[in-house]
Amino acid sequence: MSENNENQQLDSFLDNKTKDLFDKLWNIIEKNINDVSITRIDLEEKMSKVDLIVSIDKKDILNLFSQLRENENLSFDYLRCLTAVDLQDQGIEVVYQLYSMSTKFNLTVKSMLSNDDLNIESVTSIWRGANWYERETSEMFGIIFNNHPDPRNLLLPEDMLDVFPLRKSHPLAEIEVLQGEDIEPSH
């Protein structure tokens, strides 16, 4: 699908109100986040129909997030959700859903990790609530969150450190051990 096509599709399902909101938020972000150290901050073309999505390079996330949080025009103080999507060959994408209690803005931030370098800075220093989300994402996808205060498994067993269930390369039931499988049949 060409880019043009996608934009047309986008227009069709975004009503004007949402579009205005997105434009406004994007303007504020462009105006306020102008740190030179952020190399690239893109408006995602494949836009969500609910939230504005931006994607950024992984080395900028702490910088960006602290600005997003501190800036009073944005003040994204609420981390809704943190997860990852395994895009197979392209890498794994870490997704942050942000919300601002005061300005009522929603923002989705994405950062792509390449498959041979699956680590990213932890954002627990910015939102304490990121703690468990990062632990879960870490164990499910094998992403390492640097400087995480408590990098243990959360939902999976403590010793299940080499299996990453939510990766696409991991089919269902591969690690399932059937009961009594190792036992010799008795005659």
């Binding site: 399902f13 859903q97 304490r128 609530g129």
Partner: protein, 371 residues
């Protein structure tokens, strides 16, 4: 006499996963100094069934059933987030009648879930089952009603992308009014049993306090957040369905203590009744399923994060589609997961019995925490 200090030692108390008041298979390891809790280490994951992974292998309609099983006390609310996410990707318009019925069912489910909370909370506080059974009577009536509609007591799977599975029975309106009036009486009973009881007040007030700022920082949502004085209700902040047209109050607490969390829920039940009454007045006849909703849905590529206000807080569905008839990635953001993180802040420095009450006041459902 010698001046020797008494040597004291902290002990670890393992609470759960088999413990009557951990609300399922939650485990926390408390470090206690006498009765005082100095540290707490929560462990979850005992109920992890990999719902997200399973949903990636099932088509969109099959996924509805999984939502029921994650949030088994507020199934309609969980289904709603999911079907709304799919509808948003498909960009289909839901018939008006279906939306009103959805709202009624979601609010009634909130009622039943809060009834469950109030009852279980009474037991956590140490009443010998009385509030539990009183609230279960009300919950039972609601569940019977849900069974009449969906055919199942708990796992309804009644919402469909685009509307509802089938129309409600003919006596729907009168039945709703019946359960509403019984629920109203039930809330009054709860008020009488707990709200004004001196021992209950002394057990719950000034216990497990979390201020609004910390609660936001932890990502708390729902009544647990509102009890800390933050007026954040997704029904108001980002209205979905027809909440824009409905008149209701967002209940907030002041102190952010256990009592506020209880009381906010109790008041919210009254608001839910209020909302359902207004929905009933607006209920129209008409189709209950959008024409565009095919049986085997294929969503266009894209992604969406839909959140709704479930009884425990924000129930979010992050749905990524690559054009197939099943989600490419489905993330369930559950309220209990975030709320439970804040437990540490609330519990440290309180007593062992408080830990139980505080955990009860967060109102976790382990099915939704572990997914």
């Amino acid at each position: 006499m010698s001046n020797k200090q008494i040597e004291t030692q902290e002990i670890l108390v393992n609470m759960g996963p088999q413990h009557p008041s951990t609300h399922g298979v939650f485990r926390m390891v408390l470090s206690v100094d006498g009765e005082m809790i100095t540290d707490v280490q929560p462990y979850i994951g005992y109920l992890h069934r990999g719902a997200e992974k399973l949903c990636e292998t099932m088509d969109y309609r099959q996924g509805i059933g999984f939502m029921d099983r994650t949030e088994y006390l507020a199934n309609f609310n969980a289904e709603l987030s999911y079907v709304m996410a799919v509808e948003r990707l498909l960009d289909i318009e839901v018939p008006e009648r279906a939306n009103w019925i959805r709202m009624i069912l979601v609010e009634l489910n909130r009622l039943s879930s809060h009834f469950m909370f109030v009852g279980a909370f009474g037991v956590d506080c140490g009443v010998f089952g009385t509030p539990f059974l009183y609230s279960f009577r009300e919950r039972e009536r609601l569940i019977d009603f849900f069974e009449e509609i969906s055919g199942d007591r708990m796992m309804y799977a009644y919402f469909r992308p685009g509307g509802l599975a089938w129309d409600v029975p003919a006596n729907f309106v009168s039945r709703v009014e019946e359960v509403l009036s019984s629920s109203e009486q039930g809330i009054k009973d709860m008020d009488g049993l707990l709200t004004n009881n001196e021992i209950f007040l002394s057990r719950t007030k000034q216990v497990g306090i979390i201020d609004g700022k910390a609660a936001i920082d932890w990502g708390m949502s729902g009544p647990s957040l509102r009890a800390s004085g933050i007026e954040y209700d997704i029904r108001r902040a980002e209205p979905y369905l027809y909440y824009n047209d409905i008149d209701f109050d967002v209940i907030t607490g002041i102190n952010g203590d256990v009592f506020d969390r209880y009381f906010v829920r109790l008041q919210e039940m009254r608001q839910s009744i209020n909302i359902v009454r207004q929905c009933l007045a607006n209920l129209t006849s008409g189709a209950i399923l959008a024409d565009a909703a095919a049986r085997n849905l294929r969503t266009p590529p894209g992604e969406v994060y839909i959140r709704t206000e479930a009884p425990r807080g924000e129930y979010g569905i992050y749905l990524v589609s690559n054009g197939d008839n099943r989600p490419y990635r489905l993330k369930i953001r559950s309220a209990g997961f975030s709320n439970l993180q804040a437990l540490r802040d609330m519990v440290i420095g309180s007593y062992i019995p408080d830990a139980v009450v505080i955990l009860g006041s967060i109102d976790i459902v382990l099915g939704e925490v572990d997914r």
